[in-house]
Amino acid sequence: MPEVLTATTRRVFKIDINAPIEAVWKEITRTDAPILCFFNNRMSLSRGGLVPGSKIAMRSPDGKWTGVVGTIFVCEPPHRFGHTFRFTNLDDPECKVIYELKPGKSGGTEFTLIVEDLAVGTKTAKQMTDGGTMIINTLKSVMETGKATFGMRCLFGMIKVLGPVMTPKVCRSENWPVD
């Protein structure tokens, strides 16, 4: 059977955050509370924990819904964290998400989000292109002020109210175990 070639693209987002690299790393890899910059989702990992090969799932704060699943392929604390990425409500091909952290000026962090293998023209490509700036701007706001921007807090409120009504059943967490 001939291989189907899909045009893919890469998107890169970068920001300087006025917070130590270790604190930023801790924020993007925490599993004890929802991560505000990931649209207030909670990260669930398979038993192996934060190591390459572990499965990852981004679940709603109450754990009932799963929006994103993937597998970790790189984890080099506190500099590089990457996993495959797939929206559970879409049939689009998987892409890759990589977070790169470098020590920045005066104790800050140079934070880069790279999204690779985005299939051109898919909903995933559009959502990741639009969402990339929101993710890293929210991360900056959380690290520098302790809270998400006003706009994002409104969005979290809307998701909390409308999520259970609007989210398709395929996204129920029982359909996306990590172990």
């Binding site: 693209t9 998107r11 970068k14 920001i15 880069t112 700036t133 929101m134 706009g151 969005l155």
Partner: protein, 141 residues
Amino acid sequence: MKDAALDRVFSALSSPKRRRMLDILQERSGITIADLAASFRMTPVGVLKHVKLLEKAGLLITRREGRVRRLYFNAVPIQLIYDRWTDRYSGFWTARMADLKERLESPGARRAGTDGNPSVDSTDASESQVTSQTERTRRRA
């Protein structure tokens, strides 16, 4: 975003050529300096001057991948400017009005407007619709 950073962004965006470069980078993410130069019939050295300005403003990211340097558009500074002056509520309406303006002023819409009613310029039509949209927004607020 500090004033010095804001100045760098606005200064970088003040050149039509650099704005066009960002358009190209948005469409063709990860192209090389040589590719970008070819789009402008400029030498890579000539383009490099603009690339450095865009990079300094944070609007462009260069990454060395193997032996080539690839260029990526970074929308983050623009989002930060947007966030500074726009809240969720006004963002909703401005996005709708911008969509409406774009739709009505596209070449297809202009043709349809002229064919359907030769006496009405579609630009005027779009402006009047945008105005009425503003009016509705004001009344709801």
